[in-house]
């Protein structure tokens, strides 16, 4: 029986005009060759990226297109058939392996129960103790690190260039990212201690009861770490007095102590109590009264 006949009505158009198809495929392959040669030249002279990309892309694509078309239109398609031989073995072959497994292990385990138990115990212990060095040497236990920042009583507020912040630096409505002096260049300082300083108004302002002395001259300082996932709360919507986290759109109301008004953030941004020293520079009254940033199991 022939693979195919040219007068077969089911034969595809392409297969009935093999010469024409062959010519088209040849053209594709030539375009592919030209493209790849062009890529070589473009790379050699360090042409613009899009020239390099265009040549290698066109070259590879047309070379592949030609080959695929050759396979699709000019090679035997069949349909050919292949029998599926059952994957399963015969019943007796199955029994043979099961019997060998069960009987041999049965003999071994029954006769030498203690040896088997000892080996299994040893392997089990190894499995457990192997985890200890793996986990323990990867990093330190968190300890108290998530609860504390570098803000201490008397910490001087500085900007990212290390310049202390004077009481006249910000106008009402002004905003600045500050760090405790000495930590403005450290990764830790930038990642954990970052605090957003907002001058809310001209006179001292109380965000919440019990924070009467925290905002001297209208300066309010909040942790810049979103309580949702720790993104910097980098946007200040001045008219609405909202701090906005660009990651998941949590919004914090500055006037009442950065209580979340919208979005997935669960807690207010912790406020840092400030005072103004005798030279007129802003300092922290003490550390944050709670851990900053997102929630975690040990946070109480």
């Amino acid at each position: 029986m022939p693979v195919a006949r040219l007068d077969d009505p089911h034969l595809k158009e392409a297969a009935r005009n093999p010469k024409r198809t062959e010519n088209i495929i040849a053209i594709c392959l030539v375009v592919g060759i030209l493209g790849l040669a062009g890529f070589g030249a473009a790379y050699w002279v360090n042409a613009a990226p899009w020239v390099i990309a265009g040549t290698i892309g066109v070259g590879l694509f047309f070379l592949g297109f030609g080959l695929t078309a050759w396979g699709k239109y000019l090679m035997p398609q069949g349909p050919f058939v292949e029998e599926r031989h059952p994957l399963a073995s015969t019943e007796s072959e199955r029994d043979a392996i099961s019997a060998a497994l069960v009987e041999r292990t049965g003999v071994v385990v029954k006769r030498r129960k203690m040896l088997g138990g000892l080996f299994a115990g040893g392997a089990g212990i190894f499995g457990i103790v192997a985890l200890f060095p793996l986990l323990r040497s990867l990093g330190p236990v968190p300890g108290n690190t998530l609860n504390v920042t570098n803000w201490k009583a008397g910490s001087l507020l500085v900007d990212s260039n290390g310049r202390p912040v004077h009481r006249d630096d910000l106008q009402p409505g002004g905003i600045l990212t500050v760090f405790p002096a000495g930590y403005e260049n450290s990764e830790e300082g930038q990642a954990i201690d970052q605090t957003v300083l907002i001058r809310y108004q001209d006179v001292s302002y109380t965000t919440q009861p019990g924070r009467e002395s925290w905002g001297p001259a209208g300066y309010l300082a909040f942790s810049k770490l979103c309580t949702h996932l720790g993104c910097p709360v980098g946007l200040y919507e001045q008219q609405l007095e909202l701090l906005v986290c660009p990651c998941h759109q949590s919004m914090f109301n500055v006037a009442d102590g950065c209580v979340p008004e919208f979005g997935p953030a669960p807690r207010p941004l912790p406020q840092l109590a400030l005072y103004i020293d005798s030279a007129g520079y802003l300092r922290a009254q003490g550390p944050y009264d709670q851990p900053v940033g997102p929630g975690f199991w040990e946070r109480s």
Binding site: L60, P140, P246, G295
Partner: protein
């Protein structure tokens, strides 16, 4: 075409005496020349002839949807190739350096070595920008094609017995691909990926009991530390790719062992495979397709900008940019995080950050869990213990199809929810309205989609001509006032005529000009049957000779 003498000669008597002429040397090699000699040498040592012949005849059923897995495979090849190139230039270190390179806007800035080297790859390494962008595009296409391939396997029931293991391997590959994509995305240490990394850190932190320990171990202390980039690098370039390659090998190995599934059709049954043979047809098509995928990715990499990290700037933990969005395959998780209510609970001296844990750990766990366990879940429901080699048409499995559609609808809604801010801005409506829309839509839309899909499947089952091209019906009035309706003749190509499948002939004639014309034999014909077979003899007659 060789002479008749050559064909009667066997390998053994060709060994006697040294060949004197070129012609004799050629004859001494036997009827199949160097190829035959190489096969003999290999077979002496490895015994590859019998299995190799069966492998060449391996049948690949044809259907466009079987190409989706190939896209995944070949984009992975592109990933490996471009990744090797990038690894020669990338410096996986967070050590701070002052950038002095060709990109002037960054000149003199303090950046990490990882970031500086990524900018250098983009601007100073020849074809480096192309390789970077191809790598990123290939990763996006890799994950995308896995998802679509998986959907194909799901909706056609190709995961059923005996292929449950391969579904499990495949869905594990998807998880690994997403994970490695996120890790690779984090490596350049730019402002956006660094923010993503911080989100990742905080998500780990949210796990009850062990979160802070896991995060501290992984990052070598508090965020950001200076160890995460080197650690991610080795995960990204060695450990995860090695696991992916191993699982991919197992995936393809099982595919060969269990053979392809196929759609029902003429001559197709549970006990055979109908299609075109491995060699040369499928090999030509798939090799060409590898080149096409690579070429397509190269064009994307050259003409569609992706991840321009020099515009984002280096990561500084206290800086952030607008429109922080991850790669597309993380979008559904980002959307889930956005629409989750702020349910954080404190009790017994501990904090339960459920507003993070539920959408970012529990929810993807459930999604991937259902995905991985689906073959077992469906078996539990249907009690179907039969072997299935023929595929389902999705309309004939309305419940499964409806469930799958609803599942994808939910993921699509969540993907949309990852752009709440962009949508609110675009439609000039309040963020709150957009948020509540998605909170409701994530539950309602999957139900609507599921019910509709189920209904459409049922309707389609009742239409006998579904999937076939409609024929024109001519209604004409007869002279006595009656009406006659007449269906027009099928146009060429209308009727989807299927041929009877035949066994792969020993000799596949690929020179179509000779087909039916008689006379000349095909390629390699000279050595076998005397050199002047007509094509009519191809097939069973020749098979007998070969045996």
């Amino acid at each position: 075409m060789s002479s008749p003498e050559a064909t009667t000669r066997t390998r053994r008597n060709a060994d006697s005496g040294r060949p004197r002429t070129k012609r004799e040397a050629k004859q001494a090699l036997g009827p199949y020349g160097r190829v035959g000699k190489a096969i003999n040498e290999l077979d002496d040592r490895l015994g590859v002839a019998r299995g190799g012949r069966v492998f060449l005849d391996k049948i690949f059923p044809d259907h466009w949807s079987f190409m989706l897995g190939e896209i995944a495979l070949y984009s992975f090849v592109v990933l490996l190739a471009t990744g090797v190139f990038l690894s020669f230039y990338f410096v996986p270190s967070t050590a701070q350096v002052i950038y002095h390179g060709v990109y002037k806007p960054l000149d003199g800035q303090k950046v990490s070595a990882a970031y500086a080297s990524t900018v250098n790859i983009s601007f100073s390494v020849r074809a480096g920008l192309l390789m970077r962008q191809m790598h990123h595009w290939a990763a996006d296409i890799f994950v995308g094609s896995i998802v679509v391939h998986m959907a194909r396997v799901f909706f056609t029931g190709a995961f059923r017995k005996p292929r449950e293991t391969n579904w499990l391997i495949g869905s594990t590959l998807l998880i690994l691909a997403i994970l490695n994509g996120f890790i690779g995305y984090s490596l350049p240490d730019d402002l956006i990926s660094g923010t993503g990394l911080r989100i990742g850190y905080s998500i780990i932190l949210s796990i009850p009991f062990v979160g802070s320990y896991l995060a501290s171990f992984l990052f070598g202390g508090n965020f950001p530390g200076n160890i995460i980039i080197p650690r991610f690098f080795i995960l990204h370039v060695l450990i995860l790719p090695a696991i992916i390659v191993l699982l991919l090998g197992a995936h393809l190995g099982l595919l060969v062992r269990q053979k392809h599934t196929q759609f029902p059709g003429k001559g197709r049954s549970e006990h055979n495979v109908v299609g075109s043979p491995m060699f040369p047809t499928f090999m030509a098509k798939t090799t060409g397709f590898l080149f096409m995928v690579a070429g397509g990715i190269a064009l994307l990499g050259g003409f569609a900008q992706i991840n321009p990290i020099w515009q984002f700037g280096p990561y500084q933990p206290d800086k952030i940019s607008y429109a922080v969005q991850p790669d597309w395959y993380m979008g559904w998780l980002d959307g889930a995080l956005r629409i989750m209510p702020s349910w954080e609970f404190t009790g017994f001296g501990h904090t339960w950050p459920l507003e993070v844990f539920i959408p970012a750990i529990l929810f993807p766990g459930v999604v991937f869990g259902i995905a991985q366990m689906w073959p077992m879940i469906e078996r539990k429901i249907t009690n179907d213990d039969e072997m299935h080699n023929l595929l389902d048409r999705p309309r004939f499995r309305p419940k499964r199809t409806a469930f799958g559609a609803a599942f994808f609808a939910m993921l699509f809604v969540l993907f949309g929810a990852s752009s709440t801010d962009v949508l609110a801005n675009f439609f000039q409506i309040s963020l709150n309205e957009v948020l509540w829309f998605f909170r409701i839509a994530v539950f309602v839309i999957p139900v609507i989609v599921g019910v509709f899909t189920w209904r459409i499947c049922i309707e389609m089952q009742g239409v006998p001509t579904v999937g076939k091209r409609k024929r024109a019906v001519t209604i004409s009035m007869t002279q006595d006032g009656g009406y006659v309706s007449e269906t027009s003749d099928p146009r060429p190509g209308d009727g989807h005529v299927e041929l009877d499948p035949t066994p792969v002939p020993v000799k596949i004639d690929i020179d179509l000009e000779t087909v039916g014309a008689g006379g000349r034999g095909g390629r390699g014909g000279g050595g076998r049957g005397g050199g002047d077979d007509t094509t009519e003899e191809i097939g069973d007659g020749v098979r007998e000779v070969a045996r």
